[in-house]
Amino acid sequence: MSAVELRGLGRAYGERVVLRDVSATVEAGRTLVVFGPNGAGKSTLLRILATLLRPHAGTAGVFGHDVARDGWRVRPEVGFLGHDPLLYRDLTPRENLTYLARLYGQGPDRVEELLDGVGMAERAGEPLRTLSRGMVQRVAIARTVLHRPRLLLLDEPFASLDPAAAARVKPLLGEGTRVLTSHDPERDLPAADAVLGLRGGRAELAAPAADVSAADVRGLYG
């Protein structure tokens, strides 16, 4: 059983088609890196896998469960990190994570462990709106892995992180199966087991990472 299986996946927003006939497979424990210019459909793909959007064509499966039909089985398995942190600005990092931990049935120990893990223990009592973008991203990463998901869906996870912060959170995002979007082949190709290149919603590149060069990826942006 594959961790992720996409078959002829399609999605539109009104008249605008953002994904057409995308197929890919990710085996458990592997990393699929999705490259593509802005508007290529990368974020939409992740939101479908996270059960936040329904596919309009084709199917998407996570650990054998269809995301549209069996969303309630998929959700505990998935950690989603998008462009928005999905955190309340007027709550502190600790309050945000404690609230979400209750939704996931996790205890306060897990919250403290993650605050320490992302290096936010000292600022955990300050409202999120007073923190820098990079700090908020670190809290969002803690949110993503709060329930120890088997599949991580990461939309440019290191954006707005300084090198030290990126190195600190990397171990948290390095386990399990990953679908990662990126614009940086030099940084993320070495971490990939497979590559999916999207342009205009179509899969223009789908190959094992060993067969893909940085120049191939850059060709998607031409």
């Binding site: 309340y88 209750r102 939704l103």
Partner: protein
């Protein structure tokens, strides 16, 4: 219930911190009573007119709370964070309705005494327990319908317009029943609470709470 309690606790914490809903609702009610005080050009009100002024004011004040109920969820990603969690989605309805109920009770703690001082002729002392019962029954109905309307409106761009347009027609029975139930209590001399109207309010609460509970899940779907 664990999840609903977590969402409710978070909502009350956010309201205590930001004070976006309850102070605005209370201020609106007080201002409206002052306008009625001068606009009606009467030294005091009683009976049906007093009950009508009280309930129409409370209903419009409630609309301010309805409009604010889902703003943080929409603007700060709370909906997505909640939808990603493997929880029963109707827990959000229960929590939001409970939060709105609490806001209404808090507003009435200020608004009803202000109404008595500014507008009411007869002292409501002996009828206070019956008035309290009607207030609680009406609040439950407003909370159920208001939460449903708020969830519907927040998906649209004109949410401040849509919420009252949806909620107010549905709340006409609450105004009728509450006014008829309250009028004898605010008369000189005070009458007794007619059993029929509280019963209608109770029935309305049960029907709309069940209806809202049944359809709320679909409002959150993509």
């Amino acid at each position: 219930m664990r999840v609903a309690a977590a969402v409710l606790r978070k909502d009350l914490r956010l309201e205590l911190r930001t004070r976006e809903a309850v102070p605005a609702m209370a201020l609106f009610a007080l201002t409206t009573f002052v306008i009625f005080h001068f606009g009606l050009d009467r030294r005091s009100l009683e009976g049906e007119l007093a009950a009508g002024v009280l309930w129409v004011t409370l209903l419009f004040a409630a609309m301010l709370g309805v409009n604010r109920l889902f703003v943080a969820e929409r603007e700060q990603g709370g909906f997505d964070a909640f939808l990603l969690a493997p929880v029963d989605r109707t827990a959000m309805f229960v929590a939001k309705a409970a939060a709105l109920f609490a806001y209404l009770c808090a507003v009435e703690l200020v608004a009803v005494p202000a109404f008595v001082v500014l507008l009411l002729g007869p002292a409501p002392g002996p009828a206070f327990p019956e008035l309290l019962a009607v207030l609680l029954l009406a609040n439950a109905g407003v909370a159920a319908v208001g939460t449903l309307a708020g969830a519907l409106a927040i998906q649209t761009r004109a949410r401040d317009l849509i919420a009252p347009l949806v909620a107010l027609p549905l709340l006409v029975p609450v105004v009728i029943a509450s006014t008829r139930a309250t009028a004898p209590l605010l008369a000189e001399p005070a009458g007794s609470l007619p059993a029929k109207w509280p019963a209608i309010l109770g029935l309305y609460d049960v029907v709309f709470a069940l209806l809202a509970y049944a359809v709320f899940d679909y409002l959150l779907e993509d």
